[in-house]
């Protein structure tokens, strides 16, 4: 009966358009005029209060745009049990706002009762694979819906890792039925940081499982040997190399919901809208994917 159950589960249904991470200072802009935006995304934890302006704004925006709820604190990659209270909070949020997509990260962000507020890396082994699969199952069962799991940007690796990251994510998706959120900037950042090729990573990545894309800016630093160390800073425009990588992905996958993330040094709304338009132009050029059932007509 597993098939019947998973068919009843709510699946991701964002429009194949550009979206932006919502910041409260852009609320009036978003509602003011026609926007090049099909959906907004919010960090789940910012909307876990009981009421007030956060929920009022979200409700108003959701009347106009599709909604993606993006969790940063579930700590799915922890070897410790998931925080059931936090999972219950996420369930309440999803029941209240009925988002078109719910996503989380292949990372951990807490230890014991301490919340570390960062997306921390894990080794990719048979042991961690089983743990992450159990956690993704638990979240999807609690929410009674498909979630998307995002590939991380990482700054270092583990000596114990035995499974390539793309294969690790592929196995999680296959075993849990979850979708994947492909952060193209993260692909670029982790490849540069580990001396590998982003194209090689993508050629191993299960692109058919991808239901949403993230794009963001990164900072460029270097490690103590002088090797490039890219930081997933979300505080600048999307880099040209990441745009090119994105276009290559979309050429293969067809149009996908594509989010512009800009969380630090947040610019004015016009700057964000320009980034969304740039993504929209690439989406419009993309060949349609055969399996896609609700593709928007190509304006070109």
């Amino acid at each position: 009966m597993q098939n019947d159950l998973s068919m009843m589960r709510r699946v991701t249904s964002l429009p194949q358009a550009a979206g932006i991470g919502f910041k409260p200072q852009h609320f009036d802009d978003l509602l003011a005029t026609d926007q090049p935006i099909g959906f907004i995304e919010v960090h789940a934890e910012n909307y876990m209060g009981a009421g007030g302006p956060p929920h009022a704004m979200l409700s108003a925006l959701h009347e106009r745009f599709a909604l993606s709820v993006h969790g940063v604190a579930m700590s799915i990659g922890s070897m410790q049990p998931l925080d059931r209270d936090h999972l219950a909070c996420l369930k309440i949020l999803c029941d209240r706002h009925q988002p078109e997509s719910v996503s989380e990260h292949l990372a951990w962000s807490s230890h014991g009762d301490v919340y570390l507020n960062d997306l921390l890396p894990l080794p990719y082994t048979e042991e961690t694979l089983e743990q992450v699969i159990a956690h993704v199952d638990q979240v999807q069962t609690a929410l009674d819906r498909e979630i998307l799991l995002e590939n991380p940007s990482t700054y270092l690796q583990f000596a114990d890792s035995t499974i390539p990251e793309a294969q690790f994510l592929s196995e999680i998706a296959r075993r849990t039925g979850c979708g994947l959120l492909l952060d193209v900037n993260n692909v670029f950042v982790q490849a540069r940081n580990h001396g590998t090729s982003p194209e090689g990573y993508l050629s191993d990545f299960p692109l058919a499982r991808v239901k949403q894309i993230h794009l963001a800016g990164h900072d460029v630093q270097s490690d103590e040997t002088g090797a490039p160390l890219l930081i997933d800073a979300h505080g600048s425009p999307v880099a040209a190399a990441v745009w090119r990588l994105y276009e290559r992905v979309i050429t293969v996958t067809g149009p996908l919901p594509t989010l512009i993330e800009w969380d630090n040094d947040v610019p004015d709304f016009a700057t964000l809208a320009d980034e969304a338009r740039a993504a929209g132009r690439i989406l419009a050029r993309a060949p349609q994917r055969q399996a896609a059932s609700h593709v928007r007509p190509d304006p070109g």
Binding site: G52, P54, P123
Partner: protein
């Protein structure tokens, strides 16, 4: 086994004296110190920024550098026990009271407490305030036996300093001017609609509201308030509560209230 490495990783993030955990590597190095430092910095800087966003008036009083240095100590010694960051730092006021470098600003702790209560009000449950008309029907002889339900966003900060005036000046709500550091002010924080309002409570007002919040009748609460401050004025306080939308329900004592 990842669990012990994860535990070591987590501890080292918040303790710069701990070495980079075993088992980490980079293609450039077997000891990726600089790379581990990225995570250390992300954790601390991210939490400091969360506190910056929640305590803008506190930060304005001490300046960004002092605030950031103080917030780093807070983050290292009191890391979040919550995953919901708008509740992180609710105890920053208690921390500031014990933080020696801030000792010459005795009102700073209460400003931080007021800002924490403001954030709580911002995220509190929504509720309809009781309209003034609800009281016009009440028999003046039985009004003292009423119990009221206060708005879920309502918060009170009692201070031995002019906390409301200092907060208003540093929040840009009033012009800067001279203050008497030893003048007591109690703050009422309330969000009856979508705007969080901060007001200075009249004499005895804080004691009155705190008594009502703990389930006292209006008469019992008025008695507490008059003990707290002989200048307490019941009529003025009730009018203020009605006008500000501080109550969501009132129940006669004869009812089934415990």
């Amino acid at each position: 086994m990842f669990a012990p490495i994860q535990a070591e990783f987590a501890c080292a993030l918040l303790d710069p004296d701990r070495p980079v955990p075993q088992g980490l590597r980079a293609y450039t190095s077997q000891r990726p110190t600089r790379r581990f430092a990225v995570y250390r910095n992300n954790v601390v800087a991210g939490l400091v920024n969360a506190l910056r966003a929640k305590f803008p008036a506190t930060m304005r009083i001490v300046g960004d550098d002092f605030f950031a240095a103080m917030a780093r100590v807070f983050v290292m010694t009191r890391p979040p026990r919550t995953r919901i960051l708008h509740t992180y730092g609710d105890d920053l006021g208690d921390f500031i009271e014990e933080f020696a470098p801030a000792a010459e600003l005795p009102y700073l702790a209460d400003v931080a407490r007021l800002e924490a209560v403001r954030t709580r009000a911002y995220h509190a449950a929504d509720a309809e305030s009781l309209p003034a008309a609800a009281f016009s029907a009440v028999d003046p002889h039985t009004i003292g036996s009423l119990r009221v339900t206060l708005h879920p966003s309502l918060g009170i900060v009692r201070s031995r300093h002019p906390v409301v005036t200092i907060w208003m000046m540093n929040a840009g709500e009033v012009e800067f001017g001279p203050v008497n550091e030893n003048e007591r002010e109690d703050a009422l924080v309330l969000r009856p609609g979508m705007q969080v309002a901060v007001r200075k409570l009249p004499a005895g007002g804080a004691a009155f509201l705190l008594a009502l919040a703990s389930g006292a009748t209006l008469a019992e609460a008025a008695s507490c308030a008059a003990t707290d401050d002989p200048d307490f004025d019941l009529t003025a306080n009730l009018a203020g509560m009605i006008l500000s939308g501080a109550m969501t329900a009132c129940t006669p004592a004869e009812g089934s209230m415990p």
